[in-house]
């Protein structure tokens, strides 16, 4: 028995060798040649089976290529949307209009150059089939678009408005790309983190009112999203984002609180009704 085991291993090792790549060519070639190769058994490959698998191979190749193209486009969308977000953060009191104009321009370029690539790939059922390949790019894009819009108008850019802006990308023969609700919501969840940074920046810059506006806006979003999280499909991501979002809200609230409380300490010191912060700041800095 023991001896037999050893012999059978010989058989297996020849099989395992057969999994090496160079053997594949032999077998495939053998199937077509039907001629005088050394291994008659591999020659008698079922040709109907091979035909079927040739089709499946083609299908899988196309699918994988498409997935790769989508991943690439999505990555481009992500990188460039991030740039837009950084541009928005360059805002300060004096340059709001120019900064936002540049940001909007950049965003329009992202839409035109990179989102348009996604439109072509995501026709028909591929939109849902390949969602994993593009969801991060789209989320980042939603984040950039809504952030720009908030800075400009102080309101939340609706999903329908974003989708309307994507319509011109597709020619009439194609189905238009429409961002789905899930990706939009995930993008909005990320938006609150950016708004937190913006709010802290604005407070440092003295624009307390603006920070307060952001604060109430983020609270609105957080409140609305708490209702949506339990009913979202595969919401593990979203639950994590909700925790981060709450932290962002609290950070903004605390920052507003410290301005509110400590801001009051300096006014009486100056002994004037019209506090001159520049004087105060300079005086504070001199010693």
């Amino acid at each position: 028995m023991f001896c037999l085991r050893g012999c059978s291993r010989l058989v297996c090792s020849s099989l395992l060798m057969a999994t090496k790549p160079h053997r594949l060519h032999q077998i495939v070639a053998g199937a077509t040649l039907q001629g005088s190769s050394k291994k008659p058994r591999t020659l008698m490959v079922d040709s109907a089976m091979q035909d079927g698998f040739a089709k499946y191979a083609e299908y899988l190749n196309e699918l994988n290529d498409k997935r790769e193209r989508i991943v690439k486009a999505s990555r481009d969308v992500t990188i460039n949307s991030k740039k837009v977000i950084f541009q928005v953060h360059r805002i300060s009191r004096g340059n709001k209009e120019e900064v936002l104009a540049t940001a909007e321009n950049d965003l329009a370029n992202v839409t035109k150059q990179y989102m348009s690539k996604l439109v072509k790939e995501l026709q028909g059922t591929d939109f849902w089939k390949l969602r994993r390949a593009y969801t991060f790019g789209v989320q980042e894009y939603v984040e950039a678009a809504t952030l720009c819009n908030f800075c400009k108008t102080g309101t939340l850019l609706n999903l329908s408005e974003i989708n309307a802006s994507l319509l011109p990308l597709s020619d009439p023969s194609m189905e238009p790309l429409q961002i789905n609700v899930l990706d939009y919501i995930l993008g909005i969840a990320d938006l609150t983190g950016e708004l937190m940074r913006l709010a802290i920046g604005r407070i440092s810059d003295g624009e307390v009112e603006y920070a307060k506006k952001i604060c109430s806006f983020v609270r609105d979003i957080y409140r609305e999203l708490t209702l949506l999280v339990p009913i979202m499909e595969d919401n593990a991501d979203m639950k994590k984002k909700m925790e981060t979002m709450l932290q962002s809200v609290v950070k903004i609230e605390n920052a507003c609180y410290s301005v509110h409380v400590r801001g009051s300490e300096y006014i009486p010191l100056l002994g004037t009704n019209d506090p001159d912060f520049s004087l105060f700041g300079a005086a504070d800095f001199e010693p």
């Binding site: 099989l15 109907a48 089976m49 994988n64 009191r93 059922t125 849902w128 089939k129 440092s204 006014i267």
Partner: protein
């Protein structure tokens, strides 16, 4: 976390940093517009038209997601029934290991296949309500479909000795007429599952005295393995399943060898030839 926040906020207040200093001339305007120490709760922006429009949009989302969930619940209900049919089908099929004549196994299975087909029909009807979103819910019936394909393919092999093709599998399940087809990856995974069943089948056939079956199974599995190697697979579940197939093949080779070396296998000239070379 909190200390970090204060670090961010406090320099602004004390205007320590030279960077904020340069911006200082701008400060009085906003601060003098009202008196900061007296700030009252009224300063909080009230629920404005902006938050109303947010509310409205999110209400729409809620409705959308609730609809989607109820659709998913209905799909899951069908999937549960599919699962129980495939289980019955599988238990019927297990009788081949006890050497029940293949015709009887096929007959029993045929009835279950009809039931299964009915379930796919119901699923197709539900999916008509969400055109284009087939893959949104795909995960809910995926594993059931893979099992179903493996069972159908095994039955088909017992019946004909050939591999069940993708189109044939679609036809058996009543799919492919609408947008709702049999996903090719699911089909291939099902075929890999089927291959897992073959070593056990061969062992039991030999025990029951059928010494020719190892040759047949070995040929089929060798062909199948060769065919699978035509595919460029990603590093995914299918790849993993395919990698497992070689162990099935090895086991069947071992059985074939055992039978052959003892002269139990019926003498086959072609086979004899191939063994010599």
């Amino acid at each position: 976390m909190r200390s970090l926040l204060f670090r961010t906020a406090i320099p602004a207040l004390h205007l320590f940093s030279p960077k904020t200093l340069t911006l200082v001339p701008l400060l009085p305007r906003s601060f003098s517009s009202k008196s900061p120490p007296m700030a009252s709760p009224k300063d909080e922006p009230p629920a404005s038209s902006s938050s109303l429009s947010i509310e409205k949009q999110f209400e729409g989302f809620r409705a959308h997601l609730e609809d989607s969930n109820s659709l998913r619940d209905r799909i899951r209900a069908v999937a549960v029934e599919m699962e129980s049919v495939t289980r019955i089908l599988y238990s019927n099929l297990l009788l081949v290991h006890q050497s029940l004549p293949i015709s009887e196994v096929l007959e029993k299975a045929a009835r279950q296949i009809e039931v299964l087909k009915g379930h796919y029909g119901r699923l197709a009807e539900i999916l008509l309500e969400c055109p284009g979103q087939y893959y949104r819910y795909h995960g809910d019936w995926r594993s059931e479909t893979q099992t179903a394909v493996s069972l159908l393919a095994f039955l088909h092999w017992l019946e004909t000795g050939n591999l069940l093709k993708h189109e044939e599998a679609e036809k058996k399940l009543g799919l492919g007429v609408s947008e709702f087809g049999l996903d090719i990856e699911d089909y291939l995974i099902g075929i890999c599952f089927m291959s897992n069943e073959l070593p056990r089948y061969v062992v039991n056939q030999v025990t029951a005295g059928d010494y020719d079956s190892p040759r047949k199974v070995l040929k089929f599995l060798t062909d199948l393995h060769a065919a699978f190697r035509m595919l460029n697979l990603r590093n995914d579940f299918l790849r993993k399943k395919f990698d497992g197939m070689k162990y099935d093949l090895r086991r069947v080779e071992e059985v074939f060898y055992d039978v052959k070396i003892r002269g139990l296998a019926p003498v086959d000239t072609a086979e004899e030839h191939s063994m010599q070379t």
